[in-house]
Amino acid sequence: LAAAVLGVLLVATLGGAVWFVFNRDSGPGKGQDPGKVGHGVNFDLVVSRLGVRTVAEKLSRGQVESATEDVRVAVQDLYLGGFVDPDRWHDGEFPDAFDVFEPTTEKNARKDLNALTLGAAAGRLEWVEPTKGRTSIVFLLDDQNRPVQAVAGVVFGAVGHLKDGGTVKISNGADLILRPVDGAWQVYSYEASTTIEPQSPTPGASSTSTGTG
């Protein structure tokens, strides 16, 4: 009987191992620690420069600090949903990435999928390891010194790990113009570019996917 129990335990243990291997893509979803995803990746967008301009007679930065964090998190969500977190790629549709766009802008942003997210390349990627993630933010304050516009310039870089082995270099740059809508900062204008290429350029490499927004 002891041997039988040992066997069942062994099966259970190995079964657990099998489950772990086949489900290892799963990581924390939206609503959990926003910076942490699978593969031990912890992505935190860094604010590298902060600028403030006001139309008021006298500048008061009272509301800038919280607005900075709100904009940082909104932009970080775009990069988590569009690049970093495989659980949010959703077969290359990246629904979470577009939450940060205003409805009219979102329609156009979806046409620029390959510029604003991993785009079609997501189908061949297992996971993404961020190497660079920083943003400059410049706020426009109104005559009451309330932040009403923000321009975020983002530089993002990562190593993409392919499903069939090997890695690619992912480079993205974006300028996003945001404004608060119902308490949430949303993007209403953007300019973005994304390049995914072999880490060491391969002579005569064939292109599998290209796109222009």
């Binding site: 041997a3 066997g7 604003l116 061949r124 297992e126 400059s136 300028d175 973005a192 490499a205 927004g213």
Partner: protein, 308 residues
């Protein structure tokens, strides 16, 4: 079934399952086998800016007042430009009106267009000037932008000066415009002198109005270049504009207008002065708008672009 048999089956299953797990771990297979083995290269660019307004074309009246401290100025319009913007085609037309244009001012009969801004006229001000220009052109004006001598100078200095294309050498003691021909970097006071120079400008008031259009082009060029180099510079432009311009545009609308203007290339902008002839009414020197102006107004009315 004996204990040994159960144990043997369990172990066999465990070995199979474990083997499968190990095999899966060291041989990850791609979900899309079709692309397997080829090099992954993907490059894409995309951009979007909302239109400056739901209206198309967007029509703005830019007004420069002669108001300044001290005696003399009547608070009249020294500079009057109708700017029609086509947001979709990122193109625009600047139409200058000489300040002495002899026109109908609603409720006041014929007079120089410049006085429509003057408080001396009773209901004079930007609204009356807007209605006056609408009456002359038949074009609905969406917004106005108004500044005075001091505000204009601060405006230019606030964006770091302008590189203005001076069409001919100027040496005018009245305005203080002393420039060589060519592109000249100017601070606010110099741009003001350039824009005010009437005595040294061919055609007098007509030439001055065209030069004022050149100031708009210089500003547009600088905004465009600034934005290309650093999109965040847009915030500085809007802040400076909001501080030194009087307008019926909200801050959001002003930002959207600046964003739209930043994307307009100077080459896509026509700068003209309405066809007019110098003349006089009594002892006053005036400018008569000629019949050739009608087709121009009709031309820009639909799409903001001069197609001639």
């Amino acid at each position: 079934m004996g204990t040994r048999r159960i144990l043997a089956l369990s172990l066999a299953f465990a070995v199979l399952a474990g083997g499968a797990a190990v095999w899966r771990a060291v041989n990850p297979k791609p979900a899309h086998a079709a692309a397997e083995g080829s090099v992954l290269i993907q490059k894409a660019k995309g951009s979007y800016a909302p239109p400056a307004s739901d209206r198309s074309p967007l029509v703005i009246l830019a007004i420069g007042s002669d108001y300044r401290a001290g005696p003399g100025p009547c608070g009249c319009a020294d500079s009057i430009h109708l700017i029609t913007v086509n947001p979709e085609k990122q193109a625009a037309t600047i139409i200058g009106f000489p300040r002495d244009s002899w026109v109908d001012i609603p409720g006041h009969g014929k007079n120089k267009i410049t006085v429509a801004l003057s408080p001396n006229l009773g209901d004079g001000g930007p609204d009356l000037l807007v209605r006056t220009v609408e009456g002359v052109t038949g074009i609905h004006i969406d917004y106005y932008l108004l500044t005075d001598f001091k505000g204009f100078s601060h405006l230019v200095d606030g964006v770091g000066g302008l590189d203005v294309d001076v069409p001919y050498a100027m040496n005018d003691p009245y305005s203080g415009a002393v420039f060589e021909a060519g592109r000249v970097h100017m601070k606010g006071g110099h741009v003001l002198a350039f824009a005010r120079n009437r005595h040294g400008a061919p055609g007098g008031d007509l030439g001055r109005s065209e030069n004022q259009g050149r100031v708009f082009l210089a500003a547009l060029r600088k905004l465009h270049d600034n934005f290309l180099h650093d999109p965040a510079s847009l915030v500085s432009w809007v802040a400076v504009g909001s501080r030194y311009l009087s307008t019926d545009l909200s801050l959001t609308e002003l930002t959207r207008l600046a964003l739209a203007a930043a994307r307009v290339d100077e080459a896509a902008v026509d700068n003209i002065v309405i066809p007019a002839a110098l003349g006089s009414v009594g002892a006053a020197s005036v400018v008569f708008i000629t019949a050739a102006a009608g087709p121009i107004f009709q031309d820009v009315k639909d799409d903001g672009i001069l197609n001639r």
